[in-house]
């Protein structure tokens, strides 16, 4: 049963979503880890994180967005223009990064969206920023109520927070399995499973995840690896690169990446005003470098994870033309050097077949790590 989750991550549509749609229930696409899924969920709508898996050759996306913008965003647009996202009933976008929000501009202009809501998500976590965001969430709530003819009560919101908190805790448990010397689940499987957390009804996901965790316990551990690695970077919804790393004997044990821990790591508070909890929960997270001035906090988290997962090196996968992560290179390289953690930087073009090109560099990186261990 749980293996299905992993398989389903390879396509945009999956049986859970199809089933949901069959019941006449709406699905809203969202663009970034900082979009509060809880609000959408509390309105009885399925929040679906848009991604680019399976976009193949890009033509339409490149023409519209030119070839010097984020290829992940272009690939999403390609899929949308091909009609792969026709099952969505609308979009919730935000100021995540320039390319993603401009991708939405293209989407709305060319394809249209029955429902489109833009959230102005602060870049800071001060009390004023939380207040601003809380208000934004309230506007979203009202817009959902009006557009979908539903009522979103505080109780609904509290339930949603609890449901997603359960997901966060379960995913942490899943990640804890990677702390073992011989983990029983591969990284590419974890990556796929995490992607599914924003691609299907969350209650069913939690059930699936619980049984997956139980099932993993009975598997044999992986022991033929050369180094324990941490993956850092941009939206990694495509496990091809991870598979290429695994094939060479690199054991990715954890990550700080957009579709990974950035999307779930810390459970939110459960007491108090639910909008307040949600606003704080998202803004307190400094994992994504979209939050300026918090590099120190972010790198400390990396350090803590590096220790608890006992890593030997970092693979930093940057999406080409991503300003946010591109700029992060500067401070990340400096801090990792100081921490004496070797780091390999890979630029991702998000194009079919490009993962094969990383092999030589990963091999050299693994050899370097092995050399250090001697």
């Amino acid at each position: 049963m749980a293996a299905d989750l992993s398989k389903m991550a390879d396509s945009i549509l999956n049986p859970f979503v199809e089933n949901w749609k069959k019941q006449g229930k709406p699905v809203l696409g969202f663009t970034c880890s900082y979009v509060p899924k809880e609000i959408i969920h509390a309105a009885g709508i399925l929040p679906y994180r848009i991604r680019a898996r399976g976009s193949g050759e890009r033509t339409m996306g490149d023409v519209r967005m030119s070839q010097i913008t984020c290829p992940f965003s272009r690939s999403i647009l390609e899929l949308a223009l091909k009609g792969e996202y026709n099952f969505l009933d609308g979009l919730v976008s935000m100021n995540s990064c320039e390319c993603m929000r401009r991708m939405c501009d293209n989407w709305v202009s060319e394809i249209g969206a029955d429902f489109f809501h833009f959230l102005s998500v602060p870049y800071k976590s001060s009390a004023e920023a939380v207040e601003w965001f809380r208000h934004e969430l309230d506007i979203l709530r009202e817009n959902l109520e009006k557009s979908f003819d539903v009522t979103v009560t505080d109780e609904n919101l509290r339930d949603s927070v609890n449901t997603y908190n359960k997901t966060r805790k379960l995913l942490r448990k899943l990640y804890d399995l990677r702390k073992e010397k011989n983990p029983k689940i591969s990284w590419s499987e974890i990556q796929r499973v995490v992607v599914m957390s924003s691609a299907m009804p969350i209650e069913e996901y939690n059930t699936q995840l619980e049984s997956l965790i139980d099932e993993v316990e009975s598997r044999n551990g992986i022991n033929n690896y050369r180094a324990r690695l941490m993956l850092i970077g941009t939206p990694l919804d495509n496990p091809s690169n991870s598979e290429a790393i695994e094939d060479l004997g690199g054991l990715v044990v954890t990550d700080l990446s957009c579709f990974g821990t950035i999307s779930f790591w810390d459970p939110f508070d459960s007491d108090g005003d639910p909008l307040d909890i949600i606003a704080k929960g998202y803004l307190n997270d400094s994992r994504c470098p979209r939050m300026p001035g918090r590099g120190g906090e972010r790198h400390n988290l990396i350090k803590e994870m590096a220790e608890s997962f006992d890593i030997d090196g970092i693979v930093f996968e940057r999406m080409m033309f991503c300003n946010i992560w591109g700029g992060e290179t500067m401070s990340l390289e400096k801090d990792m050097k100081e921490l004496n953690i070797p780091m390999l930087i890979i630029d991702s073009e998000y194009a079919p077949g490009s993962e094969g090109q990383i092999g030589t560099r990963v091999e050299a990186f693994l050899e370097m790590i092995e050399g250090r261990a001697k």
Binding site: V63, R64, M65, S66, I68, T69, C70, S73, M94, N95, C97, E98, C99, R101, R102, M103, D105, N106, S109, F118, S120, P122, Y123, K124, S126, E128, A129, W132, H135, P289, R290, P292, G293, G295, G296, R318, M320, F321, N323, I324, G326, G327, E328, T329, M330, S331, E333, K334, D347
Partner: protein, 418 residues
């Protein structure tokens, strides 16, 4: 902190000598170089006097800092000026690219190169606002500040510009002032701020009236004059000499309109520039004027907001109006908000100024622009029936696309158009 002012000194002296050369050889054109000399004079003087040095991203209000008696430095304005002086900026771009990928906007990585070189003035503090308009600015400033231990303050600028947002940003200005006061020991003098604002408002009034005069056929103002005024407004708003300068520009243009004269003998094509420009060689403007009779009558970078700043006794109203100003800055408002808003403005400006063509001089590092380039082109064509020439270039680095290549693209465009 001791400052190495060599680079600023060199730039300042170079600009001064160009300025006196103009005075001797082309006295009627000397005004073109006055603003940049003034800008570097202020930086030079301030640093020499040991005043704290504050670097700020250009979409913040310089008026506040002028009323705090600190030396202000906008690396974006400086980058534009230095790029026009030949090769001197290139090594800073290269130094920056050791640390930050080369696809990030050149004007934003320029500060990284300047600081890394160790040759020039190290800032005492940095100020910038996210995401007004772009990620590249904030990523460069925040990482540089972090790596070099430079105290920094980042504002959170909402995507949506409305009254709630202006209040929110205005409140942050109060916190920013407290931060600058704490870091520099300087105080914000509210009376002085009101005085600076009055100058800024006066300059803005003349600036906008000058923009309006360019709607005339023929346009009374040269393309280079337009571009220089836009940059100067960004670097020098609130400085009395600039108010006087822009007043003179307005009066000269008014006189020409009254006489029915244009900036060039025969205006054949009216151009509106959107996105960026070719800072590394402003001679492109004269080349377009001389070869094709093509005059630039408007640039989106000159589309300053029309609301004056508030100079009342109510401090919170002043901060709110400064927030309104920066959220409606050219480039700031175009990049931050939705593409619809940007495109509508491109169309409106092209229509108002009776443009025959639009030039999308697209900085290769400017993602928000390129991500809708096609949409912009098509929308302008559909709405006004005029063509848009989109050129991928780096406004500050001729090594990406040379002036010859840019000229060739223009030549091909005009061949089809004329």
């Amino acid at each position: 902190m001791d400052k190495n002012i060599d680079v600023i000194e060199n730039v300042y002296q170079t600009l001064k000598s160009i300025n006196s050369h103009m005075e001797k050889k082309y006295p009627d054109k000397k005004w073109l170089t006055d603003p940049v000399v003034k800008y570097f004079e202020l930086v030079h003087e301030g640093v020499a006097e040991g005043k704290p040095l504050l670097w700020y991203f250009f979409c913040l209000p310089p008026e506040i800092f002028r009323a705090m008696d600190v030396t202000t430095f906008s690396a974006e304005y400086a980058c534009g000026v230095m790029a026009s002086l030949g090769d001197i900026s290139l090594k800073y771009f290269d130094l920056a690219n050791v640390k930050i990928p080369d696809h990030v906007c050149t004007v934003n990585i320029f500060p990284v190169g300047l600081v890394s070189s160790g040759e020039t003035l190290t800032p005492d503090l940095f100020l910038a606002g996210a995401q007004n308009p772009c990620d590249s600015a904030i990523t460069a400033y925040s990482n540089l500040a972090y790596c070099d231990g430079i105290p920094s303050f980042f504002l959170d600028i909402p995507y949506i510009a409305n009254d709630r947002a202006y209040k929110y940003v205005g409140k942050q200005f109060e916190a920013m002032v407290a931060f600058v006061e704490e870091q520099t020991g300087q105080r914000l003098d509210m009376d002085r701020l009101r005085e600076v604002i009055r100058h800024s408002n006066k300059a803005q009034e003349y600036f906008l009236k000058l923009n309006d005069l360019r709607r005339n056929i023929p346009s009374p103002s040269s393309s280079r004059g337009l571009y220089i005024a836009g940059g100067a407004m960004m670097g020098l708003a609130g400085i009395p000499e600039f108010t006087e300068w822009i007043k003179n520009r307005y009066e000269a243009a008014k006189e020409m309109v009254e006489k029915g004269e244009g900036a060039i003998p025969e205006e054949k094509v009216r151009l509106v520039w959107i996105a960026n420009g070719v800072d590394f060689d402003l001679g492109i403007f004269e080349w377009l004027e001389n070869k094709f009779g093509a005059v630039t009558v408007a640039s989106l970078l000159n589309a300053y907001p029309s609301e004056p700043l508030c100079d009342s006794e109510d401090e919170s109203e002043i901060f709110k109006s400064l927030a309104h100003r920066i959220m409606n800055y050219p480039m700031g408002r175009h990049g931050r908000g939705s593409a619809d808003f940007y495109i509508e403005e491109c169309i409106r400006v092209a229509e108002d100024y009776k443009a025959d063509a639009v030039i999308f001089a697209g900085n290769v590092g400017c993602k928000w622009n390129w991500a809708v380039a096609q949409l912009v082109k098509n929308s302008i064509q559909d709405a006004l029936g005029i063509p848009t020439l989109a050129i991928q270039l780096d406004p500050w680095d001729p090594r990406f696309v040379s002036l010859d290549v840019i000229k060739e693209k223009f030549a091909q465009f005009f061949e089809l158009m004329l």
